[in-house]
């Protein structure tokens, strides 16, 4: 596995943000890039590759990757619903939204649908308390969730997936 020349340039640019010899600092952004490029999660070979790019020991990558919640340590679906369940979202009905998604997709928290399209995760506060209940989907937030909105989001994902195939 290797990054495309384009992405390798990006990696070098990221390393350049930090002082000489401190290339380890680029580990978080490079892992983000690797997760995006190599299937949405970090397997051992991906982490080893990142270690080689940053000229550090593989263990230094493993210990970081397993600490931060945004790195997936096992395969996930094409669309990952990360629904916030902390206080302010709970007050605004996140429990019902989580239940509804489970029923709708027929999966439990942490599971992926059989077709590999959807994964449901519950997460802690994402800083959208005034727009609760909410979830992260890819790069952006989906806020003020209702059952109808959840239906529409699922439909949108199914359509996008079909269009990309």
């Amino acid at each position: 596995m290797t990054f495309s020349p384009d992405k390798l340039n990006k990696v070098n640019e990221l390393i350049g943000h930090y002082p000489e010899g401190k290339q380890k600092s680029a580990i978080l952004p490079v892992l983000h890039l690797a997760q995006e490029e190599f299937g949405g999660w970090l397997d051992v070979s991906t982490m080893d590759y990142v270690a080689s790019l940053l000229k550090i020991q593989p263990i230094e990558v493993y210990e970081v990757a397993t600490f931060y919640s945004m790195y997936n340590m096992k395969p996930v679906g094409k669309y990952v619903f990360e629904v916030c369940q902390t206080g302010p979202c709970m007050i605004n009905g996140s429990d019902d939204i989580i239940k509804y998604i489970q029923q709708k997709l027929n999966i439990k928290i942490g599971e992926t649908t059989a077709d590999g399209l959807f994964t449901l995760k519950v997460v802690e506060c994402l800083g959208a308390c005034g727009y609760a209940p909410m979830m992260q989907l890819g790069k952006t937030y989906r806020e003020h969730l209702t059952k109808e909105k959840v239906d529409a989001i699922i439909e949108e994902c199914v359509k996008n997936a079909a269009a990309n195939n």
């Binding site: 978080l28 206080g87 709970m90 605004n92 308390c129």
Partner: protein, 451 residues
Amino acid sequence: MSKKLLLDKINVEGIKTFEVYRREGGYKSVKKALQMKPGDIVEEVKKSGLRGRGGAGFPTGMKWSFLAKPEGIARYLVCNADESEPGTFKDRYLMEFIPHLLIEGMIVSSFALGSNVSYIYIRGEYDWITDILQTAIDEAKQNGFLGKNILGSGFDCELYLHRGAGAYICGEETALLESLEGKRGLPRIKPPFPAVKGVWGCPTVVNNVETIAAIVPIINDGGEAYSKIGVGKSTGTKLISACGNINKQGVYEIDMTLSVEEFIYSDEYCGGIANGKRLKACIPGGSSVPILPANLLLKTAKGETRLMNYESLSDGGFATGSMMGSGGFIVLDEDQCVVRNTLTLARFYHHESCGQCSPCREGSGWMEKILHKIEYGKGEMKDIDLLWDIQRKIEGNTICPLGDAAAWPVAAAIRHFRDEFEWHILNPEECLKRNYGLAHYADAIENSVIS
């Protein structure tokens, strides 16, 4: 309408772009600052009385003056944009809708501190905001406000974004620096303080987004003018992110002479409790600060009107007061369950504990388990005292304040809502079907003046 220093231009069409921001008077403070001596800028910030807006409220000017300046060693300014205290979403609002204000503040602050390479550490989930900030940085650079020899002053400054990856603990400044070094976010033992030994062993200042943004009006209008806004040691304006059961959730810039009552009930701010319900309780400064029942929220124990500022919100200590914290204002209406709310917060702190110190690592999980038991009708009376005992043994016994942050919400919930915990335990079946509600607190609330 109170004076706005940070958000006055936020609704101007196109303010996200350099062109409009500049036309509206943006980047003026950079020109002014570059003609000043760095030490004089620090003095202005001291004069302003500005206190750190991330939660701790430490005087910013003083923090800046602690920065060590050894010959030949780089100094760094790092902006803490790892906003993740539940109830807090003010920095996000500022960065998303008026990104150049933060960039402008970063340039001035970098010059004041002598930082030629500065960083904004932004929480990983704010992915699209990272793009917005990157565009703003690129525009500033193209226009000569970043990079080499800024506006011909001889001052060089590069500004980089560093995206986190999901860890509340990285909002703690030494954990943030560890993370910036490419490690797990484990807080460091202080001393040495970052001002002496920060990122890569170099002197470093870490400031919150709102703090850095406030530097802009302080330089434009002078520290003294800033210090005249507000009251006592709560100078300037404060961003409050209001959420929960209110009519108008959102981010408000307030003058700190405002009363809590006006903030909740006035149409200019929260617009009252949603769905015509009554106020039960509020966590006024982000999830870690003590929850207060309505009567103690609106008035202090001495019967004085409580104001939205550092001193007034903490009046009465933890016995009858709370804290300004990060300005995350969480309102609970009469139907909300304090036990369930406390459970979600305990789960949050358990999830976010870095695991270094056993009181926090073990204690936060233990508290979550007990609260879970009580919420789901399996609690025993002795559990309440056990919870109290655990939180007491976490507080003050950890390297960083996450231990305190985990302990305080539990302590305050028991202190003010003990009967609600007892009701859960005495009514194990009923508590699964309905929330305790307001019966007990209603009198106290009726007696307090609600306009």
